[in-house]
Amino acid sequence: MTPLAALQQTLAGEHAAVYVYGVLGGRVSGSAHPSLATRIGSAYITHRGRRDQLVTMVRAAGGEPVASEVSYRLPNRARTSDELEAAALVTERRCATVYATTVGSTSRSERRWAIDALTDASVRLLSFGGSPDAWPGADEL
């Protein structure tokens, strides 16, 4: 995979993550589940920031940033607090996989960006009920 293709794939993933977290943020009750609401809100801000960074990185690499889809399928029903948390966990795991691929397909500042994003997603998924594992983002290892 070329560096530009990897960045575009990562941007597509961020579009999806921003959409999912936007929906989750709209459904979580800040009064009933303040901690979960904070964690989802933080994740939304992080992924929105990464999306914007990737748009810049894709343009710098000479590409036209891939556009967002109109909507995305949620990882689950996303109705109860448990489902909201589980959806967030799935989203972080998917992002970690994409970031790991990007690490392997880029170099210099783009790779640095992906390494940092992979670490962040790997730790963040723990806050959504995930468990530590030996190879975050690279399950086949």
């Binding site: 995979m1 970690a96 790991a100 691929t101 690490v103 392997g104 397909s105 880029t106 170099s107 790779r111 640095r112 992906a114 390494i115 940092d116 992979l118 670490t119 997603a121 790997s122 730790v123 723990l126 468990s131 530590p132 594992d133 030996a134 190879w135 975050p136 983002g137 690279a138 086949e140 290892l141």
Partner: protein, 167 residues
């Protein structure tokens, strides 16, 4: 699994693949893998020493131990045997002699402090992994190192939390 199996692109070579080539001896990724292996082994030794000193932490540290065993297992495939055995192991403070003649890393007397010490060592390992992933020539190997670094970062969080409950 060998590193050759994690190649995501035909343009990337793993250290193990690279050392078969004529320029094998000069491949910096093999040396990098050797250093990563030495650090992972040192981490594993520290975890084992902590469990030896504090048997009650065996359950808490089971996942940590499994993680680093997995890292050692994979990295060992990437490093020539001679280099793997000669790679310098990062020193730990005041190692104590063992009955078998080897040296066991020093472990704090209080369980909470022992876990905190492990968390600090994991943090250093994570930093080393991120820097190594940045400099690896092979993209596939960079991915391996970045993932191992992310796993260490996960351990930092878990160990820090566990240490906090034992103070």
């Amino acid at each position: 699994m060998s590193l050759a199996g994690c190649t995501g692109s035909g343009t990337h070579r793993s250290p193990r693949q690279s050392r078969r080539s004529p320029e094998a001896k000069a491949d910096p990724d093999v040396a990098l893998a050797g250093r990563a292996l030495a650090r992972e082994r040192a981490m594993l030794q520290q975890v084992s020493a902590t469990v030896h000193a504090h048997p009650g932490l065996a359950g808490v540290l089971a996942g940590t131990r499994a993680t680093h065993r997995a890292h050692v297992r994979l990295l060992a495939h990437a490093v020539p045997d001679k280099q793997a055995s000669s790679s310098p192991t990062p020193t730990t403070p005041s190692p104590t002699p063992t009955a078998g003649g080897g040296h066991r890393p020093a472990v704090p007397h209080r369980p909470g402090e022992a876990l905190a010490a492990l968390a600090r060592q994991e943090a250093r390992l994570a930093q080393f992994g991120r820097e190594s992933a940045q400099t690896a020539r092979s993209g596939a190997f960079a991915r391996v190192l970045a993932s191992a670094a992310a796993a260490a970062a996960q351990q930092v969080r878990g160990l820090t939390a566990a240490a906090g409950t034992r103070r």
